[in-house]
Each structure stands twice: as structure tokens, then as C-alpha cells.
């Protein structure tokens, strides 16, 4: 019997480790266009201690480890390029603590977005976290490990800006805590301890996050979204600037897509508003639609489509069905907001050249400090030609993002190379040193961020 299997079974129990074809097959895939690579083994630990033992074993025998959360990065960030152990972290799904007064939630790495949202709605209805647009199966920890953004990005920033503390298992097996938790002062703040930000945005190449404390924000009684429509993409940045100046909005997203026809060639700017009373809601609506955007309406350049209460989760999985083929992937880039018009025009051109109905959106981060702009390409899993077209379009979009002065968000291997080519050589050198220091045997998610 496979010695690796035996050792792992001793750690997690036989029911939670597999070397069978079916598991190896399923866990070899990213849901996007990345080619599959089979792991040697799939393990699903339940505790941090189990993770530690697995990591020590892998480090000792120099076996690659690939940590997996929800597996929804769509950039191939949890694909076992060099085989090894695929670590499915979703069994670690306990919500450990919600502290109302300090507004934070302490969760294990496998807690899903849907689970946390639902838990807060039922037990702490005046608190919410910044939930990304990914399907609810995505994990909280996985999302902020890739610098994700959620529906509180405007005004509160990246989800990784909302971290109070982390517990991490290093590639050599030690467990570290970062933030106030490291001096046993609870999990309420990251600063002012010395910055050891070595685990967010590193695609799991520096360690495995096993616990995270995230900030929660006020959740008001009325939550809804208004929509503002413009035709001229050049107007979008200034409109976003005006809206963010009011400080009255939450999530601000501008989208444009070829299908369905109503949205083609137009920019729908959705603006989330929340309020605890009708007066508060009307005040915010007045400030945004009448004061900030009134002139556009009067001129006929922008139109108010209405305000609908009860935020509906966008069902982004539906994008996967646009080519009736169960697949899509996107390039997300963090761009200056003023680049929106070019991102849109060039993105549209790339899509049309690849015979894919164009789909773009820009989500505002902070007070228009930046936006996450995405170019999405749907493909049909049963038709390899559409996969090839999508892959090409994605690579072109990676190139485009950098050309237009942005930074690729959660890049896959192709994008990582582009970013590393442009990076300041001293910074790159430091990245290499950090990786070598933390992961001397090079076992953590190999293939990613490999500095030559």
C-alpha cells in the first residue's frame, strides 16, 4: 500500500484521504481554462494540528502541497502542477467567534461566504462582512488570501484590508499568529505590531492560513441597489468620482455586456444603498441621484433606472451558461478608475475578435482609489475551440491590463510571469529571499510566483 497514503491516513483518518482516481481526477481541475494536473493524493484535514503534521511530513519528504479553499479563483491557483498533496481545507469550517462590540469574526480557513453571511443574518443581524461576487461556496480565508473584494469594497477597500489577524502554518510546520492575537490580546486588530504581511497575495506559496479574524461592518435594515445608466463610457469615471464624494453609497459597480441585448453598448452603474429609516434612505438618494447626478439626468446623458430594495446576490454562476457550456474565466485587474473607458473599449475589441460576447465590469475600491476591472470570457467545456479562444483572450487581457497601467489581480501562471518581468528587481529579489526563508524545500504550491 502507498506509504504516503498510510502516513496521511494516520493523521486524518482513512475516510479523509484518497489516492483513488475519482478524487485525483476531480481535484486536478480549476474551473476555468487552466489545464488539469493530478495530485498524488487528496487530504481533507479537520484541525490546525492535522495541517501541521501534514506539512511537516511533506517538508520532510519534499512533497509539494497545494492548499485549496473553495477552488473558485478561476486562475489555476490551486492546481497541483507538480503533483503532490492536494489539501482540501473546507472541513475546517467552524465559525469560532463573533465579537459584536469590536465588530469582528474569527473563522477557520474553510468557512464559506454563504455560511458566514447566513450565520450573521441569523445571529448578528446588525453586522455584515464584505461578501465577494463569487458563489457562496468560496471561502472567506481563500478570498482575502488573493486580495479579493466584496460588496463593501467601496468604501472600505480590499477584503485583505479588513484582516485583524491570522494564524498560519509555515511550510516548515511551525504555527504563527499575526496581529493582536499573537500577544494574546484577542483578535481585534492587526496594527500596530510590526508588519509581517507575508501571506496575502502570495497564492499559498508562503504558508497555509488556518484561522483569520475579519472586520465586520454595520448592516442596516434597508438594503437595496439603484441603477444609473450611461451610454458614453467617458462619463463613467467622473460619475464614479461624484458618487464616491457623497460618501453615501456602498458597493459601486459599472457593468457592460453584449448579452442580454439591453446592456450592450451601455454602462449600468449599480449603487448599493443602505439605511435604517426611510428618512436616511431618502437623504442618501437625494444626495446621489438629485445632487451628484442630477445634471447628467437633466442633460439626458444619464438615466436613473430605479431603486430596488432587498439586495439579490448576483448569480455569477449564470455566466458559465452563456455558451451553454459550463465554463468561464476572467482577468481581473486593479486599475485606476480613469482607465475605465479604455479598458471597456479594448476589452470589447478583444472579445469580438475571439467571437465571445463581451462582458466587462468595474468594481470601485475605496473612495475611487482604484477599481477591479474584469474581462470575462465564457466557453463551452465540450468544445475545445471555445476553450482555446477564451485562453487567448485571457492572455491578451493580461497583457492589456499591464499596458494600461494596472496590476493583474490574482494572476495565473501567465499573468504572474508578466508581473514578475515588470517588477522592480530588488523587490523581486526580496520576494525570492522571503520564499526561500519560509519554504526552503520549495513545497508550497509550486509553479506559482517562481522567481527565476
Amino acid at each position: 500500500m502507498d506509504p504516503l497514503y498510510q502516513s496521511l491516513a494516520k493523521i486524518v483518518g482513512e475516510g479523509h484521504v484518497s489516492t483513488q482516481t475519482e478524487e485525483l481526477y476531480i481535484y486536478s481541475f480549476d474551473l476555468g481554462t487552466t489545464e488539469p494536473y493530478r495530485p498524488d493524493c487528496v487530504v481533507a484535514p479537520r484541525t490546525m494540528e492535522e495541517v501541521q503534521e501534514i506539512v511537516r511530513l511533506a517538508n520532510r519528504d519534499e512533497i509539494p502541497i497545494v492548499p485549496l479553499g473553495g477552488g473558485l479563483s478561476l486562475a489555476g491557483l490551486a492546481v497541483p502542477f507538480r503533483g503532490g498533496i492536494l489539501l482540501d481545507l473546507k472541513r475546517m469550517d467552524t465559525i469560532i467567534e463573533v465579537n459584536e462590540k469590536a465588530r469582528y469574526a474569527l473563522v477557520e480557513c474553510g468557512v464559506s461566504q454563504g455560511q458566514l453571511t447566513s450565520y450573521l443574518e441569523r445571529h448578528h443581524p446588525t453586522l455584515m462582512h464584505s461578501e465577494p461576487g463569487a458563489p457562496p461556496q468560496a471561502t472567506v480565508a481563500g478570498n482575502l488570501a488573493i486580495h479579493g473584494q466584496g460588496d463593501l469594497a467601496q468604501p472600505y477597500g480590499f477584503n485583505s484590508d479588513m484582516v485583524n489577524g491570522l494564524e498560519v502554518v509555515l511550510p516548515t510546520g511551525q504555527v504563527c499568529q499575526f496581529g493582536s492575537c499573537s500577544i494574546s490580546a484577542g483578535w481585534f486588530t492587526q496594527h500596530p505590531l510590526p508588519d509581517l504581511g507575508l501571506f496575502l497575495g502570495w497564492a499559498g506559496t508562503t504558508g497555509i492560513i488556518t484561522k483569520v479574524s475579519i472586520r465586520l461592518y454595520p448592516r442596516k435594515k434597508i438594503l437595496g441597489a439603484g441603477m444609473f445608466v450611461v451610454e458614453d463610457e467617458e462619463l463613467v469615471p467622473e460619475i464614479i468620482y461624484e458618487i464616491t464624494h457623497t460618501e453615501m453609497a456602498q458597493d459601486v459597480v459599472s457593468f457592460s455586456q453584449a448579452i442580454p441585448p439591453f446592456s450592450s453598448g451601455l454602462h449600468h452603474i449599480t449603487i448599493n444603498l443602505s439605511a435604517d429609516s426611510e428618512e436616511e434612505l431618502e437623504f442618501k438618494q437625494k444626495m446621489i441621484w438629485d445632487d451628484a447626478l442630477g445634471e447628467y439626468i437633466r442633460r439626458g446623458d444619464g438615466g436613473l433606472l430605479g431603486f430596488a430594495r432587498h439586495l439579490q446576490r448576483p448569480q455569477v454562476s449564470k455566466t458559465s451558461d452563456w455558451r451553454k457550456g459550463g465554463g468561464f474565466e476572467y482577468v481581473g485587474a486593479i486599475m485606476p478608475v480613469e482607465r475605465y473607458p479604455e479598458c471597456y473599449r479594448r476589452g470589447r475589441e478583444i472579445s469580438e475578435r475571439h467571437d465571445i460576447p463581451y462582458t466587462v465590469l468595474g468594481r470601485v475600491i475605496g473612495m475611487s482609489h482604484a477599481m477591479m476591472f474584469s474581462w470575462t470570457y465564457a466557453f463551452n467545456r465540450a468544445d475545445p475551440e471555445t476553450i482555446r479562444q477564451a485562453r487567448e483572450a485571457l492572455h491578451e487581457s493580461d497583457d492589456l491590463a499591464l499596458e494600461l497601467g494596472g496590476a493583474i489581480w490574482k494572476p495565473g501562471l501567465y499573468g504572474q510571469k508578466l508581473v514578475m518581468e515588470r517588477m522592480d528587481p530588488n523587490t523581486l529579489d526580496l520576494m525570492k529571499k522571503v520564499k526561500q526563508l519560509l519554504d526552503p524545500n520549495g513545497i508550497m504550491n509550486p509553479g506559482n510566483w517562481e522567481v527565476a
Binding site: 445608466v229 439591453f262 446592456s263 451601455l266
Partner: protein, 349 residues
Amino acid sequence: MYELKFDANNCLSCETCDCLTKCQYMDIDRDTARTEMAKIINGEDSFVLHDCVTCYACEEYCAMGNHPFYLIVERQEELDVPPLPKPLIKRGIQMGIPFRGEPEIVQVNEPVMTMGAFADLTYLIQGRLFDGLPLISTDPRKMFHYFCQLMYLHYARTSVIKERLPGIIETIAKHNVKELICFHDECYGTFASYAPAVGIEVPFKIIHFFEYLYNRLQELRDEIIPLNLKVAYQRPCSSRLSPDKYHFVNAIFKLIGVESVEREYVSENALCCGGIIMGQRREGSRRRAADIERRNVEDMANAGAEVCVFNCPACFNTLAEPVSRRGIRPIFMSDLCRLAIGEEPAGWR
């Protein structure tokens, strides 16, 4: 190619100018009305063209059936003074483009009902009131092949209506339709009022949904248990295009034993739901729409309505929540009729 059948002389010699003097959204006296109408007839700009909220009511007010509203909309387009911002117009026009393939043409040999652009509401059409009634346009992916287009009256785009409507009629006719019941009041208005007004031929007989419901209820008279509810009726803008069918509202109410409460905003004086007004360019439109909504709902509440009966899904989308927040239950007319014959309404919330 299709020209509005409008008699300028009739209009210029009109004594009352009811079309403008009765307008609920602009304050116009008779003299101003005559002056402005003359400008409009001549193709000149008038404040009426800018301030009209497109509620359709003047179609009903005009005693001569001279189509003042249709004329206003034509002029708005000609002079490029649409009530809505351009992006919303483009959006509306694009929305009506079918893009999920051709519809399935099934031959029918009996009266058939069209769901128009409301295939999503097909679930309302069930139960004994609709036993054996064939439906067309029940697939949401294909419904824009049956979309009557009249919505574009709100967008100053009669050109789009004239361009697309003949094709829509042709698609319907392919089903071998002889009698068409229109689920949506506006579809009825398109075929019974607009098409004849611009000379588009309609090769089938049109039946108003409420007329159908009334007749059906008569057939099932013995099964009706009086509901004893106090109701308010939300009259949609399109209802102004078929004033001759309006009496069916009260006829149905009487038959099913509901009391139509005494309201200020009723019949000729009914208030538009305000859904389309909210996005208009005219200064203060958002607040105007909110105010109209507030007055409408308060009026229902003050009159003691327990239920608000809807004809039009667009009115429903706009007003169902505000009326519910006021403690009044929103319901579609067809659902109310189903309740009266002891069935559980499909859309009762």
C-alpha cells in the same frame, strides 16, 4: 410609411381642449392649451412636449378621439426632446430585441391568449377560469417576438413601434389566430387603438382580458363566493386607450362581491403608478414620482382599501411593495377572480 390619422381642423376648432386642461401633471388653462396645441400641430416646440409625463390620459380626455397623446409623442421624436435620457431610450429599444432564437409556431383554431412580454407571469394563468385556453408567448426567451412595442410611447420612439409592430402582428398571425385575448392591457391598446390610428392592419379580433374574465365568471356564476373585500383598483396608463372596456372593472367587482372603495384618484382621475416618471429628464422627476406614489397609496389607505387590484405588471412592480408597506395586499385582477371561485391565487403573497 404609417402616418398618424390626426385631424388638425378638428383639433383647432375644439372648444374645451380637454386634452391639456384636464392634464393632472401640468397646470394648463384653456387659452394656453389652444396656443400650445397650435404649436404642436405646426411642428413647433412647446413646453408641453418637455413637461408631458407620458401618462396616456389625454387619449381618453379627447372627446373626438383625435389622438393628442400620439401626436405629442411624434413631435417629441421629431424635435428630439424625448422625456427620458438617451441611455434609457437606447436600453429600452435594445431590450425589445429577441435574441434567443425563433419562436415555436403552433397552429390554433380557437381564441388564444397572448402573454406578450410577460411570459414570466404565465404561472398566473391556471385554474378553471382558463381551462382549455391556449396561450402563446409563454417562453421568456422568445417573448420579445410577441412584444407589442407600445412601451416606446414613453420613449418618444413611435418610429420603433411602426418599424417593429407589423412583424409582431405577422408572427402572431402565423399561429392562425382569429381571436386574440390580450393578457396585458397595453397589448390590447396597441391592437385596438394605436394600430388603427397609424394605419397598421390587425388581421384578428381583439378581446380585452377583463372582458374575457367577466364572461368566464358569468359561466361559473354558481361557484362564486362573494369575497366581501374592500378594494382599490390601480388603473394603468394603457387603460386610457380602451375607455370602452373600463366598465368591466366594476362589472367584475360587482360579480365577485368586492366593494370598490370611494377614492379621489379613480376612473378618469386615476393616478399613474409613476414608474416611468421616476427616470425622466424633467427637473424633480424622481421626487415627482415618489410624490405621485405617496398620494396614490394614501388615497387607497384613506378610503379603507384592504386590497389593491392590479391590471398591469409594470404598475405591480412599482407599487406592490409600497402598498404592502401600507398594509394593503397587492393582487392581480385574475388572481382576485380565482380567489372568488375558491381557488388559491398563484401570486398571493
